[in-house]
Symmetry: D2
């Protein structure tokens, strides 16, 4: 592997400013949360309000949903973007959503702060080049069976096009194991923190697929060196439209954040 822009030998670790007061990288850790899909305005607003109450400033929610079956709910699309914008303004939150089509990138940035590239589109080089032309923070999820090397090269596609505001996101890889939805690869977190410049967060929701594993694997992620977490939460997890089995309620999320802070104090970083 040639020396890449993402390599520590090419520059300092990258610290990304999400808002005046909110950065990720170095000792600053973040927690992003919200439902899998934006279901409707009222539910989304209620979730955002509760998240804000427990100190979470970054809201996620899917407007465009990449579903395995064409017969499953495909998201509210542009209406979803409008809902995010409205909530962002009301609660002064940072909002993030997945973009799947090159034709949506520019338009979406009128509504949202952070672009997510989902696992299924990590190898979509046309899309990577397109977000590389913006300056928006990008969460780049690892492809479900992408090697660490391929994933870093995907980040390089964005960076070489001019955008270095990249947050890697480990979300579990596909293995032979079926007791859990995916195998969360925390080795990858420790490996990347050791040699590369980009901040990396972990998604324990998709990484495990099981609600009861979200808390321990969140703590493990932070202990392995992750710069943050992205966790699916809902005011009523059992009735969420998708990913119900891996979605936690707001109270459980609060407990996780409290425990992370204990580890944080022990290690000397702040959340």
């Amino acid at each position: 592997m040639d020396r890449l822009l993402v390599d520590k030998l090419s520059g300092d670790p990258i610290k990304i400013k999400l808002k005046e007061s909110q950065t990720i990288g170095l000792k600053n850790k973040i927690v992003i949360s919200g439902p899998c899909a934006i279901e409707n305005y009222d539910t989304m607003r209620a979730i955002a309000k509760e998240l804000k109450n427990i100190g979470i400033n970054i809201l996620r929610g899917g407007a465009f949903k990449p579903r395995t079956s064409p017969y499953d709910f495909q998201g509210l699309e542009n209406e979803g973007l409008s809902i995010l914008k409205s909530i962002k303004d009301e609660f002064d939150m940072i909002v993030s959503t997945e973009i799947m089509d090159t034709r949506d990138v520019e338009h979406a940035l009128d509504y949202i702060d952070i672009i997510q590239i989902g696992s299924r589109n990590m190898y979509n080089y046309s899309l990577l080049k397109e977000v590389g032309k913006t300056k928006a923070p990008v969460i780049l999820k690892r492809g479900i069976s992408a090697t660490i090397k391929e994933w870093l090269y995907a980040a390089e596609y964005i960076m070489v096009n001019g955008n270095e505001n990249i947050i890697l996101c480990e979300r579990g890889i596909r293995t032979f194991e079926t007791s859990t939805r995916n195998t969360l690869d925390l080795n990858a977190v420790a490996y990347i923190k050791n040699k590369y410049r980009l901040p990396i967060i972990v998604d324990p929701s998709h990484g495990t697929g099981l609600r009861e594993l979200v808390a321990p694997m969140s703590l493990a992620a932070i202990a392995a060196g992750a710069d943050g977490l992205i966790i699916e939460s809902h005011i009523k997890p059992d009735i969420s439209i998708s990913d119900s089995a891996q979605t936690i309620d707001i109270l459980t999320l609060k407990d996780i954040i409290d425990k992370i802070n204990i580890i944080g104090e022990a290690y000397g970083f702040s959340n």
Copy 2:
């Protein structure tokens, strides 16, 4: 898995007309060949001429190349499309190339006959919907770690949007094995032929990554029930720009076709 349009229970096996005289499906098998990337007009024309000489009517060649590294050759892009069109007209061949961006689909069909969806874009549902709106034959390669079920759902995305001219292509999956580039999953061929309506071809070049395995695995693919092959060939394999180690010369390709015809006679199908 619900009953899908691609299921045999939903209709007859699909036979696709590529040209007046050339169909795929049922007992008609096809061989598609050509270089990994379109390097320049002269080389491409020379390859096409030799392929035509040994009876191959369907030419492949990459104009847009999805490369792991942004620093590798990304293809001749639109110039590549023009080269294909020119050769198609001169030699009366059917031409096929990979399209990676929703914005290129309509435009490309002025130049080519068959659209390939590459392994990296099998989950690119925006792209699948876009090719679903055309009537062009589509080669849908299996994602490098896509389950058979996910792959069939990807085909369903195309079909439900109105295009049933789908040729599945098994091209090897990612496993722990490193002696070969990928693991060619011929089980998938037999499985799909048993239960589903779509023709399926096999790519032994990417499926093995090793020139010396292309012949035996081509024969194995046909014996397993495949409707055809897509094989990387070049007049000078050793100097081809990409995938050199898995590219064969035209003479070797001729031998493969001869042996397939022997199996074909034994089984009662025609090539």
Copy 3:
């Protein structure tokens, strides 16, 4: 990888004499068949008789069964060995069974002709050394996630201890795919035939886990270059104690052999 005894550079391809008239290797191919487990004397004898009728001389049947659960049927053990011996004598067949414990190797050879090392014991180096001290033909199944390299080294353990009568057996590897029980890796067959000295057979029963895929994958295996097949069969597949879903009846087996012979004639080898 250093040059090993199993490498073609170290000597001629190995041809193994199973009996005066039966060899494997070079152009001689074999078919081994029988039930997963030896259930009782009468059933085993009935199966053997039918196999003999369709020209199969090599009988398999498990006496010691490595089952995932300790609560599942563990085999008839020594009684199973006696049944095999009795049938071997009555029908003049070659018999093969799996041995799992170093303490059973010597004893078992009073009853059987061919020792099988099962997939779960491919890395059991104590057992490999022990069979290496005998001269008995050994079927060495590939570990469920063993690399080709590790598998060849396992064979080397047997060979360096003095026994070169090794028949490799590809029986499917563990991947992410769940539609089939395992992924039959025919690349491995072509790869090994290209560079190594040992004969290799294929087990399409475990390799697919599905009865309806056994015929096409048997043909594919032979087309890829395999020296033979080992296929689970039963007079009444649906009531066989284990592996029922992948066990075929004797008539289906007869059809497979007929088709293999057609391929064989085309290629110039004899069965």
Copy 4:
């Protein structure tokens, strides 16, 4: 999966007494350390002395080495057992080594306290049954591609034969990723702690294959809920006979233990 003896529904979590003062399970965590292989008496004694100095009471070291190649060092075998016994007596330590052959189990227990079943022998049911007949603590490593279910069934083989002193050990699984030696599956730790009775430790040395990842992954393992760690260490890692790249020095090990104790205090458990 039927209800097993290892299931929490079948009884209380199991706490294992390794010595009067040393238990594992519930809130008691352990650290086992030492070199991959016992190289000679002097080196082993020097390592043991330094480990004892930093408070480690449980020594590991391989006497019988399961090596991929028959040409690699196979261990000191019985001489290795004698070395362990001598050090055990001098330093009042608990000693652990891997046993690979059913014929060695009884004999080895005259020398050692804890039997390890290595990854390659997890499916060796003859061996599992044999250690099941003893009362010795057994470290049961997960097979390199064993599902959690298969691993628990392997433990069940030991338990149903009468020995419940089983310590599971997650040591990384085989995936497509090659930047790290294996993929450490901490999901499995959280999953098993959630539903099963057995203590579970983690081997970050084999789990990563890289010295620089041992510390972060040790902390992650404890944060995920592991009951302990088994870590390869050496007084001179660079000259250790095997696994040098993943072996740490004693000072690094001391740091890891200090950090674990910080997490431990935060969570209320003792080391």
